[in-house]
Symmetry: C2
Subunit: 325 residues, 2 copies
């Protein structure tokens, strides 16, 4: 059958909640269960399940690998939170605030291994291919995180470098999830490649939408304060585009603003947004989201499956494009 998004989400959530973890040592496994309980969009397993369901009526076989990707994703969040010294994650204290840094490191390590445990359940004939995609994807995510950290000490990052970073850090995992789902669904290599491209382009749109929402969303829908990226001086699509578009004077002014630690938060955010407005940065970012989404849909259109079977992925792309949080 063809499952709709809610059905797939429910199946994934049920599977995630039922993941068996050893009881002991509880100091190792409690932080893992805590990390996985905290919800989130479950976007990556959803992509895997939808990609599988394009080609295959039943989706049971995709659940362990879909869960592996979600566990991996949550592992990266756990370790990223240590590196960023983040106090909160999805409205709850981060693992390192609750259990300490050492626990967070080690529980993260165990999570990563646990993700690979879940891959054991893949059909043995598909396992080599799945392991290859999973490894390739995971290593690239680490590379993306490294570039992100490296960028912190740079005044300005060229747009191509920024896009390469978010491709690795964010888009590749959506693409890997989708490709694994396609493999399990029995897609041809060509269709798998097209679905990989679809999700990669979607991932680029997804990250840039994230950057836009952080500056232009509303606190009510986003669930956190607006302007966090600006206050942290983070490199985003917006800062990168602005530094690239601005003339020498305005670039100096923007760099000074982003490093200014004396201004009131509201003032700082307002002044940065004012520069964005003058440079048309929001429009440029919206166009990038639209372009990446269009490229995603074009790749999806080339997948050799009946149009109605690709509908869920099309709807998901549209929903992510227009999302408010």
């Amino acid at each position: 059958m063809m499952y709709d998004k809610e059905q797939l989400s429910a199946r994934i959530e049920a599977y995630m909640q039922a993941l068996p973890f050893p009881q002991e040592p509880d100091t190792l496994y409690e932080p893992i269960v805590y990390s996985l309980e905290r919800g989130g969009k479950r976007l990556r397993p959803l992509l895997a399940a939808m990609a599988c369901n394009v080609f295959r009526e039943e989706i049971d076989d995709v659940l362990p690998c879909a869960a592996a990707i979600e566990v991996f994703h949550n592992f990266t969040l756990l370790h990223d939170d240590i590196m960023d010294n983040a106090a909160m994650r999805r409205g709850k204290p981060s693992v390192q605030r609750k259990w300490g840094v050492n626990s967070a490191i080690l529980s993260g390590d165990a999570m990563l291994i646990y993700a690979y445990r879940l891959l054991e359940q893949a059909d043995t004939s598909l396992l080599p291919q799945i392991l290859r995609i999973f490894n390739d994807t995971s290593l690239k995510v680490c590379e993306g995180q490294q570039y992100d950290m490296d960028f912190e000490s740079l005044e300005h990052v060229p747009m191509t470098d920024y896009l390469h970073m978010i491709e690795l850090k964010t888009a590749v995992l959506l693409a890997g999830a989708t490709a694994i789902g396609a493999v399990i669904g029995g897609a041809s290599e060509e269709d798998r490649g097209k679905l990989y491209t679809f999700a990669m382009q979607l991932g680029m749109a997804f990250q840039i939408r994230d950057d836009i929402l952080d500056s232009y969303g509303t606190e009510a829908t986003l669930g956190k304060k607006i302007g966090g990226d600006i206050l942290e001086g983070k490199k985003t699509f917006l800062t990168t585009a602005a530094m690239e578009t601005a003339d020498a004077d305005m670039r100096l002014k923007l760099a000074g603003l982003l490093h200014n630690r004396e201004l009131l938060d509201e003032t700082k955010i307002a002044r940065v947004l004012d520069i964005y407005d003058r440079l048309g940065i929001r429009e440029r970012a919206e166009k990038a989201v639209a372009d990446y989404t269009a490229a995603a849909l074009e790749a999806l259109a080339g997948v050799s499956a009946p149009e109605e079977r690709k509908g869920r992925l099309r709807d998901l792309a549209a929903a992510l494009n227009g999302r408010m949080h």
Copy 2:
């Protein structure tokens, strides 16, 4: 052919040194190359290669998986060094001292994934089994490290708990390496089980020998100061046995000594060793090493292969038992 230890070591070292790593981002891969360059005994890949060579003339096929285990082992050292805030590793600055904690976390993560990359090269028909052993082993190593951390806040750890901890933290990885080597060699399930037991018992002896050497070795052969464990108040076979053997008075005295931060290092070490002497702790530890080694050799004797093919593993067990560093 049957390779001797030096030939196998040379093959493993050459393979390790030739491992291909991406150039970029160098900030991610340099710490990995640095970690793997630093040598060490290469005991785990050696066990894998020897176990393979018991059943099989050629050992090329075991090298990627043997290297995977060595990369995994070095990943655990890298992350352990963060958790212990260790300044040095094998006579060189630890990764987190050289590149910072965040780099050490992320490079460690990438190393763990890289270990799984190496498993991709396993024969596809063996991959499911190898992946299962590798995952099971790795997760147990994390559990062992967690117990080790948990023990830090305990006054006294029962001997059974201590032995369970070193089984997980140290012995299981030797056992997993050996089992994977046996699988690749084509061992029967029964022989694989016996070799697993062999290496597990050997691993117990290995760790207790480590504990003995830290207190009773010589700086010249050990390459570091004697008594480090005592100064750090670490739980070892020696402290555990002493706390268990001592009467109430002496236990109080020993606990007080181990927590004492005012005594000169030499005085503290001398007084703890004096208590060990009075309780016959060194002899008890030596007996434990001998017993575990005997159990290892007994398991090895049961492996259905010609005696001469098991000679390398027997020699290795003897060498580890009598080692000075």
